[in-house]
């Protein structure tokens, strides 16, 4: 299950962060997202460690913690997407697919002429789309 997704701007400013848990652990999840930003920077600046495919948008598993796995994605425009999941057995293809759909939703959201670049994304449509993508991720990995 995906517990948290986040969009972080090119100056590491939060653009959108949403957790999907019943419990009151938003702060902990935000902390995890915050920590992952350093890992993203490290991956990007030392491309040797990031695997065979250079400069790919999908950054792969950033770091595992006891209960969570954190995945990252960096767009051409230096916007970071962070995904926190509790599934310990996740297929890379599923995560890639998730980020691709998430990116499409993000692009549609920032193409709104009323959205101010660099400001938080407040669009309800975007939130709903993200929720739908998050829900379907759970289904596809279970099936």
């Amino acid at each position: 299950m995906i517990v948290c997704v986040a969009v972080v701007g090119h100056q590491n400013n939060p653009l959108y962060i949403q957790s999907f848990t019943e419990e009151d652990d938003a702060l902990k999840l935000h902390h995890i997202v915050h920590c992952s930003l350093d890992v993203v920077d490290e991956r990007v600046n030392n491309p040797k460690k990031s695997g065979p495919t250079l400069n790919e948008t999908f950054l792969g598993l950033l770091y595992p913690t006891e209960n969570y796995k954190v995945y990252g994605y960096l767009t051409n425009t230096k916007v970071k997407f962070i995904l926190v999941t509790t599934d310990l057995d996740v297929r890379d293809a599923d995560v890639r697919n998730f980020f691709r759909r998430f990116h499409a939703a993000y692009v549609d959201a920032v193409s709104n002429p009323f959205h101010i670049p660099g400001k938080k994304i407040t669009s309800k449509t975007f939130s709903e789309r993200v929720s739908a993508i998050v829900k379907s991720f759970g289904l596809s990995s279970a099936g």
Binding site: N55, L74, N76, V107, V110
Partner: protein, 174 residues
């Protein structure tokens, strides 16, 4: 994904936008009108670059990003690539389009061809050139917006010394 846009509508919209800003909003301040039009282009380029780079790996240097503008970005916008790219390898790039689509409908008064020495025609010519250059602030803004969003702050200007060819000069800020 494949959505289509009427070309004549875009042409008409662009012409109207330029004429509205130049003749109604800022009739006596062409610099201000130019800045406003450029800013609209910037926003458009900003958003388009986000969309068109979606399925691509990240660019490793400036040249790669400029090449993307010349090839894929230009193809998406104008159904053709930039015809010629020059660079001095010090942050200045010249992108030349031999038949720029948004200028192909602009006619320059044919009477200007003869009698260049006369004063009134020279004045008319400079006026026509000024009107033409007004139409280029929008594409300049698009290029600047796209490159800025890709992390390359720059200044873009246009040169129309040999119509209908048109060159865009990109100066990357250090």
């Amino acid at each position: 994904m494949g959505r289509e846009v009427s070309e004549s509508c875009v042409d008409g919209l662009l012409t109207e936008m330029v004429s509205t800003y130049c003749n109604r909003f800022y009739a006596n301040k062409p610099e201000l009108a130019a800045r406003r039009i450029e800013a609209i282009g910037y926003q458009v380029g900003h958003q388009l670059s986000e969309r068109y780079t979606m399925e691509r790996p990240r660019f490793s240097d400036h040249l790669e990003a400029i090449k993307f503008i010349c090839k894929d970005f230009w193809s998406e916008l104008f159904k053709k690539q930039i015809d010629n790219l020059k660079t001095n390898h010090r942050g200045t790039f010249v992108l030349q389009d031999n038949r720029f689509r948004w200028l192909s409908r602009i006619s320059i008064d044919p009477s200007l061809e003869n009698g260049e020495a006369q004063d009134p025609s020279a004045m008319a010519e400079s006026k026509a050139a000024q009107a033409t250059s007004m139409h280029l602030y929008f594409p300049c803004g698009i290029i600047r917006g796209a490159l800025s969003n890709l992390g390359i702050p720059c200044a873009v200007s246009a040169d129309i010394s040999n119509l209908p060819a048109c060159s865009f000069v990109v100066r990357i800020k250090a």
